[in-house]
Symmetry: C2
Subunit: 425 residues, 2 copies
């Protein structure tokens, strides 16, 4: 029954029923957390062999270099070759870094602000207002970097094929617009993968700033839910073909492949951008943790090894996403108060509820022991304009825990939305 069309009596009955469900669940003293995209212990276990794969007497690279010592700013050759295949670029187009692609992205944007980017005349901070295009809903940490660095955020909506390009293409006519954040595959939090046309238009669109960059955070490159990684056109190739080889900076990491805190992060870009990044890195580093890079290369052996590893991850993760979808279908389908994504990969399900209801739903769930990402976290400055987006992160809890959490969540959605409809009737 579509609650928006319901009689006052039916609406009251739905509200009562949701309230009863909620009250019952609240009595269970739950402590469940669906706030962040964290791997579950079972996923981390899959990579534990990596921990002891590099030992005494076995720390040198193929050319005999001792990876325990200083140096090799761009990462060990074995890891550059491996991650070149992972990112679908050449080994010279790769920098393999430390444990965090967020750090690499922050340093990149800060580097643009403070030192400038190839193609530009001056550091961004010396060019007046700096603006970035932010497809929404998006990743809170991207927006936090912009906010922290004083970069103005221009939001554009998303479509099932990526950002709304008609809106995007208007913005870089302003030379103050220096970039766009993109999570091109299994996007955070909305789940879509960019179509070939989206990739091509982003590579080709005219931009006024010669130092404009597409920040391509391919965090979920291989993180499918059972059907294998979704195809995604090669953005660096597309940029090269469009005559804009320096436009894109691509990032990835093994944080959600091996161990979230002890993975390896990579940047892929044109050789000019790689040279610029290494020049900037020189001042802050004598080299990354090469032993941990060696662990990763030895553990995976090759891309087939990594893909087989991700199939095992999918076996663990997919049932959790199925549990989320099942609950949403069971409790909310056809009620006209919520829509949701059914992603083929990544770490999130996005739920859109009636305007003005998201914060109240999250607060109610929290009172019943189910922590959810704050409403608005998916938007710049933490403020969703309509208070309607909720991000669910179902990986870290068990299937049973997710089923319980989703009972709570669905009761909260129905309760808050029915009350809202009652008030506005």
């Amino acid at each position: 029954m579509d609650l928006k069309q319901a009689t006052p009596q039916d609406l009251a009955a739905a509200l009562e029923s949701a309230e009863a469900a909620y009250t019952g669940l609240r009595g269970c003293n739950l402590a469940l957390d669906m706030t962040r995209g964290k791997p579950a212990p079972e996923q981390l276990d899959l990579a534990d062999e990596m921990l002891t794969i590099v030992g005494h007497g076995d720390t040198a690279g193929d050319d005999g270099t001792d990876y325990r010592n200083y140096g090799i700013l761009a990462g060990i050759p074995e890891a550059r070759a491996f991650f070149a295949e992972y990112m679908e670029v050449g080994p010279k187009e790769i920098v393999v870094g430390g444990n965090s692609s967020l750090t690499m992205m922050y340093d990149t944007i800060m580097g643009g602000m403070y030192y400038g980017m190839p193609g530009g005349d001056a550091p961004w901070k010396d060019q007046g207002t700096v603006k970035f295009i932010c497809p929404v809903p998006g990743y809170d940490r991207h927006f936090a970097i912009c906010e922290r660095l004083g970069i103005e955020m221009l939001t554009v909506a998303k479509t099932p094929e990526g950002p709304d390009l008609d809106a995007v293409e208007e913005l870089p006519k302003d030379p103050a617009v220096k970039g766009i954040w993109c999570v091109p595959k299994y996007s955070n939090p909305s789940g879509e993968t960019y179509s070939d046309a989206t990739v091509q238009r982003l590579a080709e669109m005219p931009v006024a700033a010669p130092d404009f960059r597409v920040v391509w955070d391919n965090a979920y490159n291989v993180h499918h839910l059972g059907d294998g990684p979704a195809p995604l056109a090669n953005m660096l190739d597309a940029c090269k073909q469009a005559g804009n080889p320096d436009r894109v900076l691509m990032f990835g990491s093994t944080s959600k492949i091996t161990h979230a805190g002890a993975g390896v992060a990579v940047m892929a870009a044109s050789e000019a951008n790689v040279a610029d990044a290494l020049k900037k890195m020189f001042y802050s580093s004598i080299g990354p943790d090469k032993i941990n890079q060696l662990r990763h290369v030895r553990f995976f052996k090759d891309m087939a090894g990594l893909l087989a590893h991700m199939d095992k991850q999918a076996e663990i993760v997919a049932p959790k996403f199925a549990a989320v979808d099942r609950a949403l279908e069971t409790h909310l389908a056809g009620k006209g108060i919520a829509t949701w994504t059914a992603p083929k990969g990544g770490y999130f399900v996005s739920v859109e509820v009636l305007d003005g209801c998201a914060s109240a739903i999250i607060e109610m769930a929290n009172r019943a022991g189910v922590k959810l990402t704050p409403a608005g976290a998916t938007h710049p400055y933490g403020k969703g304009p309509a208070d309607s987006f909720i991000r669910l992160a179902p990986t870290v809890q068990s299937v049973a825990e997710i089923e319980t959490a989703m009972e709570v969540f669905c009761a909260c959605v129905e309760l808050v939305c029915a009350k809202k409809l009652q008030e506005t009737a």
Copy 2:
């Protein structure tokens, strides 16, 4: 024989003898490197047990937290407690980071420039010219950070007790002076350890800028050559006692204790400074590599374990420093053309030759297959004013290799200096 007092005949004879020695050594096709303070493989071997000390099923902290996952920006509690003892501060006064204290220091200075420091009214970059005090000779990477960030460097000389404080104390009367670089123990490259009086005066001296910082790079805290770590007064305590608790930011790392590329870096400072650092770090990191921190804590067990480890390091390193000193004494003592340090720890020997001779000596040594740190690298902008400082890094080569390299070096010193004396006679 003091060559400065020698007769022309004696000088010519010395030159001839040095030339003969040099020519002979040049024929040996040497390939020796004394440029950087890198540990030798035998030193790295001492920590190899650490590589496999954390394995499957054994990745949790004392409180059950799984250290394979995201989070814990300040470092795992076990590592904070351990390094608090190492840095002689409280666990809340410690941040344990990634593999590089250089990165932490760069991020700290960049953070001051872009966001400001507690006590200050504005980011340093918005306060006009920013200046740092640079005791010379010093560490090239410190000076490179200043140069890169556009910070003006004010050099002061060093004494056997630390920087020349009469000179230092004049400079912070200018509020544009925001800091001073210090390597307080076994200083790079000059080897001295700061006296208690130096520590106290640095803690107490009046400074005009409320956001002035002493950057205390205690890189060689426990890196003695056999007599145990030199005593060094606790700079954070001294600052607290002087009523300037936020003045100092102390850094350290295990890069030259365990593995140079895969160590753990730490910052120690007042709780206000730690809170500020963590706030800045939040935007660029979801947490450090906690597994590697756990490896370190498990490997050392406690400070006694770390100190015993450093005794083993000293057994390897001390004979190399002795070989350097022996060669300098044998070939150059009493000749009036060079003086040198005999440090009790650290990674370097500093040689001061006749003005205008350092570059030529290094070039000659290089032509004979002995690479030395470029002359002037120990000074801002890579330019020693008198072209007289040479830094020797004798750790990475074997004793036999160092003996050979020092034959070359001493021949080059005598040759270049004797020629200089001939020309200026």
